[in-house]
Symmetry: C2
Subunit: 311 residues, 2 copies
């Protein structure tokens, strides 16, 4: 199986942490329910391929995300392999945190919005109300010794509001980080962002004291921009990148495509540029092919298609 | 139809020339022959969408590329719109140049290889022999007042030889440019290149006097790297980018995918970053949809899928 020629880039970090979102963000929109044991095996294979940080599942009400109603079962199947500070789970509120704590997790993530419309649609609250909802979640998580991530979605464009002002995004990010989170994840939820926009947002966050060392980036490839935007963020000193193995997270053949950056395409870019990720690309591609078999359709990842074939 | 939010990037050229390769490189591998009048209309629509430089066709022997056997017919249909220095045609040898001159073209391109294996497979010659074959083509073209481009393919990886040493690529590029060509196009024909590699090659070319002002870049998206690599080249001062409207040039769903960078995805990136291209994205997407109708399958361009839908 081919691997990229290594030609080190001088303007990138030496090492990048890939924050793997496939099992949670990737699977959550799949219509046919993936059995808990397949999810657990997916996570084990991802870890075996060298992914150190994997968001495993979500403790949201089953009616919101039926696909992830088996969070407790998945974690039980994983045992210790599903716990610790590198196995975050998404929690929407205090009840979710209670369930996560009961499962023994070592890290949680909350999921906010930079725009009022998406906050209303996704959380049924204003941005301010959602932050107040997260406040006790983050405080109690920190008090319990957990690592905490704060997602902020719609940081670039919003399907209802259009372009999202950078100042508005910075304001929400500050309020989310003021809760006490360890890491911020900047989401380009609809994939419209471009490189100058990425630079401007990172500069603006840096100016208010949220440096690149506390930031992860989460780009969607809906307009083909995810990897270019990611590389721009890395040049700004960001060292955490969200990606989804096989590009799971939205059908690439549909108008509503919201596919995450494929982990394999990211690893190809970083391997080639001499950036360490700890990931074995061959194992990862094999894992994608295995998962694609369970989902019954080929992976949209270019690297998976090129290396494993889908014809 | 959506357009990207404009947030100027400070590290990119003010203006980029898109060298549109869809009608030639994009169509040449299509199995079902596209009628000459459709090709001519495709070129007219591309020009109307604002693409100033369009490679229209190829004067290769019909047995090599049956799809482009109608070069003379396409140019006759286009009339003056198919001529001039911004409407290059590919010519493999002197006979091709004769035909191109007879058609009245104002620009030609020759297509060399950085590797011996591909030179042998594509041109049935060694690299040295192919350069000698191009010598009278370039000389006569320049004597006739034509603009001349020199493609060098396999500049990053080669499917038979593997990684291609930068020094070898630089040597071939020098010999091609020494023939008297006006512009060099660096081809990542199999799409394996990454950003550090792009930087290193451009630096090495600059060191031997082939500056970014004479270089175009031609990336394939086989491994999802085309746009990231292109943006790296632009940061090095390159201002000419090869792209194919709709991502024509290889089936994205097949193992052998060799799709060109989609012009729409490039324009999205550049529009967003405040880089002028002169291209109207909405018109371009409409042109891709129109062409996809003729080809009977959806465009692999992410932007076309997102804006025009394929579901």
């Amino acid at each position: 199986m081919g691997l990229p020629q290594r030609e080190p880039a001088t303007d990138l970090p030496e090492r990048v942490t890939i924050y793997e979102v496939g099992p949670r963000d990737g699977l959550q929109n799949e219509k046919s329910v993936v059995p808990a044991e397949v999810k657990a095996e997916f996570i084990r294979r991802l870890a075996a391929a060298g992914l150190e940080t994997i968001e495993t599942t979500s403790f949201v009400p089953p009616s919101w995300v039926p696909q992830l109603a088996d969070a407790t079962e998945v974690l039980a199947d994983l045992g210790d392999a599903g716990l610790g500070p590198r196995r975050p789970v998404l929690v929407p509120n205090e009840r979710g945190l209670d369930n996560a704590l009961a499962a023994g997790v070592g890290a949680v993530a909350v999921f906010g919005s930079a725009t009022e419309t998406f906050a209303r649609k996704n959380l049924n609250r204003t941005v301010a109300e959602s932050i107040e909802m997260f406040r006790p979640v983050v405080e109690r998580a920190k008090d319990s010794g957990l690592w905490v991530r704060a997602y902020v979605s719609m940081c670039f464009g919003d399907p209802w509001e259009g372009p999202v002002p950078v100042e508005q995004v910075v304001d929400v990010c500050q309020r989310m980080m003021d809760l006490g989170a360890d890491q911020l994840s900047l989401g380009d939820t609809i994939g419209t962002g471009t490189t100058g926009h990425v630079s401007r947002l990172l500069d603006a966050l840096d100016a208010v004291g949220i440096g690149s060392d506390r930031i992860g980036v989460h780009f969607h490839d809906t307009y083909g921009q995810a990897l270019a935007n990611t590389m721009t963020a890395l040049r700004h000193g960001v060292c955490v990148v969200d990606a989804s193995t096989g590009g799971l997270g939205g059908c690439p053949y549909a108008k509503s495509a919201t596919g995450n950056l494929a982990t394999e395409d990211l690893v190809w870019a970083l391997d080639g540029a001499g950036v360490q990720t700890g990931v074995d690309l061959t194992s990862l591609v094999q894992t994608s092919v295995w998962m694609a078999g369970h989902l019954g359709r080929p992976s949209p990842s270019a690297v998976v298609r090129a290396l494993a074939g889908s014809d």
